[in-house]
């Protein structure tokens, strides 16, 4: 299961960021695929990105004049969320993959969660509300233009997949680096270092997309099903779960990313992937 998931994550990341010309020349893809959003957090300023980031696109729509509802992006989120829930996070998100790989580095004593997890886990909802929604809808930049606050002040995915490769290949952009870049670089380095010790800290505590897809977990089509009557209560699933979820929380919890570690660990075979009934 681990190998299958890693293969899917790698293939998905390579396919959705397959514009190799961009990496070589410090430019981005400008074709028609950018009319649509990918399911995961994938900066559209990544030189290889073939489609749009749903959080970036949501902010682009909220940044318009007036206070209109961003139907198109809500549509993408409802479609992806209803089908997969946070399966997207576990299997399709490039920044999730990066954190997974860093967590495999055999350094530090590994932790599943940060201290004060039960408070900190609400951070992603705060980011969604304050930076993505309110920040983009109501706050104004210096020239009275609305700003994509999440992308501008927080998004480490944009820094890693967008800024670093673009700045490496594009001298014109490199000459414009200022304090904001170093602020974002600091956030990126902090999250990447923390990922070595704690499992997916950005996904657990800060990702607005995880907050949205978590809401769909309870009723999405793809589910991990736990058969209570077969369960022998050995708790092997909870020990294997990188997010430390109890068997009754698997799949329905907004935190479950459907990685399948519980399924693999269960000696009674009472956990399996399935569709919602």
């Amino acid at each position: 299961m681990k190998r299958i998931r890693l293969t899917v994550q790698l293939l998905y990341t390579i396919i959705t960021n397959g514009y190799a010309y961009g990496f070589l020349n410090g430019k981005i893809y400008q074709g028609n695929l950018k009319y649509v959003c990918v399911p995961g957090l994938n900066c559209y300023s990544c030189p290889g990105a073939l489609a749009s980031c749903p959080v970036g696109a949501l902010q682009a729509l909220l940044n318009r004049q007036g206070y209109e509802i961003p139907f198109a992006v809500l549509g993408f989120l409802f479609v992806f969320g209803s089908l997969m829930g946070r399966f997207v996070c576990g299997w399709l998100c490039p920044f999730g993959l990066l954190q997974d790989l860093l967590h495999k580095i055999p350094l530090f004593h590994k932790r599943k969660r940060l201290p004060f997890h039960y408070i900190l886990k609400y951070g992603k909802y705060a980011v969604l509300l304050l930076l993505v929604c309110i920040g983009s809808w109501f706050l104004f930049g210096g020239s009275f233009a609305k700003i994509p606050a999440f992308c501008k002040y927080l998004c480490p995915s944009g820094t890693f997949f967008g800024a670093l490769p673009l700045l490496a290949a594009n001298e014109g952009l490199r000459s414009q680096i200022g304090p904001l870049f170093f602020w974002k670089l600091g956030i990126l380095i902090g999250i990447l270092c923390l990922s070595i010790k704690v499992y997916r800290p950005f996904c657990q505590y800060l990702c607005p997309l995880g907050a949205v897809y978590g809401w769909f977990n309870r009723f999405s089509l793809v589910q991990i099903r736990w058969e209570k009557e077969k369960c022998i209560s050995c708790m092997a699933c909870q020990r294997a779960c990188p997010l430390d979820l109890k068997p009754e929380e698997i799949s329905v919890s907004p935190e479950c990313i459907r990685c399948g570690a519980c399924r693999e660990a269960c000696p009674a075979s009472c956990i399996h992937f399935g569709k919602h009934q």
Binding site: A51, S52, G56, F71, G75, V79, P148, I177, L221, H276
Partner: protein, 55 residues
């Protein structure tokens, strides 16, 4: 009238994921009618200076 339920084994009910999917497609169509894809496209084909920490 359709009733939305999470566990829809009874005929006449549609499961939550199907209702969500239907809502999603309706929103996508509404977005198309309002020209929102053009806004997304215009933003996505320009280098986003905010995203890369310059703007």
């Amino acid at each position: 009238m359709l009733t939305l339920k999470n566990n829809a084994k009874t005929s006449g009910h549609i499961p939550g994921w199907a209702a969500g999917l239907l809502t999603g497609f309706l929103f996508l169509a509404a977005g198309a009618l309002r020209g929102e894809y053009t806004v997304i496209f215009r933003k996505a084909v320009m280098i986003c200076l905010e995203c890369i920490g310059i703007g």
